[in-house]
């Protein structure tokens, strides 16, 4: 049986969540490997939630926010970008491939971009194989 990656996505209410909705209503196909969690802004994602997802067995985490300049709270996405950069650096330091974490800007009108992103991510995670944390009990 082919490995089916599981992705947890933290998406901004004002953009990526709406884009996912648009992809659905426009009947754009994308793989069903993703579970969306809606937040008010990409800056509401503390790295702890990203790590908790990965350590508990998610194969990848997607964070979706408004394009630079478009955040409804002015600069939340810039802060999210820093946090994700820090997180990736720390994960890299301890040998966890940073490619399991994707931060993407996807506006409310970009249903197609949302679908494409999910498709790409599932493809990449399939190549990488299951997250080793899935079976690690000593964490």
């Amino acid at each position: 049986m082919e490995f089916e990656p599981k992705i947890i996505a933290f998406v901004c209410n004002w953009c990526t969540y709406a884009a996912a909705d648009l992809a659905g209503t426009s009947r754009i196909q994308y793989p069903p490997n993703i579970r969306l969690i809606r937040l008010m802004c990409s800056s509401a994602v503390d790295p702890i939630y990203i790590m908790k997802s990965i350590l508990n067995g998610a194969d990848g985490v997607l964070i979706g926010g408004c394009h630079p300049g478009d955040c409804h709270y002015q600069n939340g996405n810039y802060k999210a970008r820093r946090r994700v950069t820090i997180l990736k650096s720390i994960l890299t330091s301890i040998g966890v491939p940073e490619e399991r974490i994707w931060l993407r800007w996807i506006s409310a009108s970009e249903g197609k971009k949302f679908a494409d992103t999910v498709t790409d991510m599932v493809g990449r995670l399939r190549e990488m194989g299951p997250s080793p944390f899935k079976s690690m009990w000593e964490i």
Partner: protein, 362 residues
């Protein structure tokens, strides 16, 4: 300027010096390490009455708490008292870092930095003091010559023998501390203490520089083999296998700036059934759970601001290399943002600021 140590009685000299700082109104209260109970215990004391300065010992190779944390408590809220604080470099660095997170108010503080060549665990020091032939003076001379017995790992590699950015410095490196001590401060303060302002003697500056260089090399060497220790999840888990998730390292960290740590909230108190479900999924779970998550979260929250004081490792009941891990992972993040923690600069910790154009493509 040099102040003479009469008859080799350093404590007397220091007592008098610190008393005069209070008596002449340079500060209204003084945070000062003093000996307590005559049993080898040394801790910070908050002095209002100059006559209560009886065991001033800021140079002893022992540190109980990071004074940065104490001053956070002493300056948060309404504070109209000018507090003087006698601190080592790691404490001053913590202080400046905390001020950037608004957890310390520097306004009413007068910082007196003291030379430091390393500290040991308070219990180790008390043990030595109890031994027959031990004298602190001899021990400190050994440190100047490069000996490091009993010294904590963080201190062995600390490149700050003399604090930077203090309002006054009190030094012994490069002099004979049994005979004289060096005081460096502004002309105005020197006047008020009836001292003459002088630049530190060349010998001193040179000695401090040599030590700084040696320790920088030791730190670089320590960091260079960290990849082997922490560079994969398996090796990290091995290094921290004996972590009992007591959170002591977090409690003692002067930088952990949150008034309420997320780990002390109920966000990570799970329902019994959750644990059972996770155990079912993996077949077995190590308990307590979320230990790796704890360390990774703290790394994400503050490693870029880690000043390397080593209080985390001192606090650990199982002697785990917390200081090493945070220095290692912290440095990588600091390099990305070109940030140096613990300095009196306008530079903001990476988490407190952003640029509109940076870090792209994602």
């Amino acid at each position: 300027m040099m102040i003479p140590v009469k008859d080799g009685k350093q404590v007397e000299t220091l007592n008098n010096f610190f008393r005069s700082i209070l008596e002449r109104g340079i500060v209204d209260a003084l945070l000062l390490p003093q000996g307590l109970f005559e049993n080898g215990t040394y801790a910070h004391t908050l002095v209002k009455d100059p006559q209560k300065i009886t065991h001033a010992q800021p140079f002893l190779p022992v540190l109980m708490n990071n004074g940065g944390t104490i001053l956070s408590e002493l300056t948060s809220g309404v504070n109209s008292t000018r507090i003087g604080a006698v601190l080592r470099a790691c404490e001053i660095r913590a202080l400046y870092e905390l001020s950037k997170f608004n957890q310390v108010d520097l306004n009413n503080l007068f910082i007196i930095g003291v030379d430091c060549l390393g500290t040991m665990e308070p219990s180790d020091f008390a043990g030595l003091v109890g031994q027959k032939n031990f004298t602190a003076e001899q021990y400190i001379s050994g440190l100047i010559e490069g000996k490091q017995d009993h010294i904590r790992t963080a201190c062995r590699v600390c490149p700050y023998p003399r604090p930077e950015d203090a309002d006054m410095n009190l030094g012994f490196i490069g002099t004979d501390p049994a005979k004289e001590l060096f005081v460096d401060c502004s002309e105005e303060i020197a006047d008020r203490l009836d001292l003459k302002k002088e630049a530190p003697p060349g010998e001193m500056v040179k000695k401090v520089d040599v030590i700084r260089k040696e320790k920088t090399e030791l730190l670089d060497k320590l960091l260079s083999d960290m990849k082997g220790r922490f560079g994969s999840v398996t090796s990290l888990l091995n290094q921290f296998a004996r972590c009992k998730r007591c959170y002591n390292c977090r409690a003692e960290c002067p930088i952990c700036f949150c008034n309420e740590c997320i780990f002390l909230t109920n966000i990570f108190h799970h329902e019994p059934n959750d644990y059972i479900r996770w155990a079912e999924r993996k077949g077995v779970l190590r308990m307590p759970y979320d230990t790796l998550l704890f360390h990774l979260t703290r790394l994400n929250h503050m490693a870029f601001s880690c000043v390397g004081c080593g209080q985390c490792s001192s606090a650990c009941p199982n002697n785990l290399p917390v200081f090493e891990l945070f220095q290692y992972a912290g440095k990588e993040v600091q390099n990305i943002f070109n940030y140096a923690p613990g300095q009196k600069t306008e530079d903001e910790p990476p988490i407190l600021t952003f640029r509109e154009k940076e870090l792209e493509p994602l």
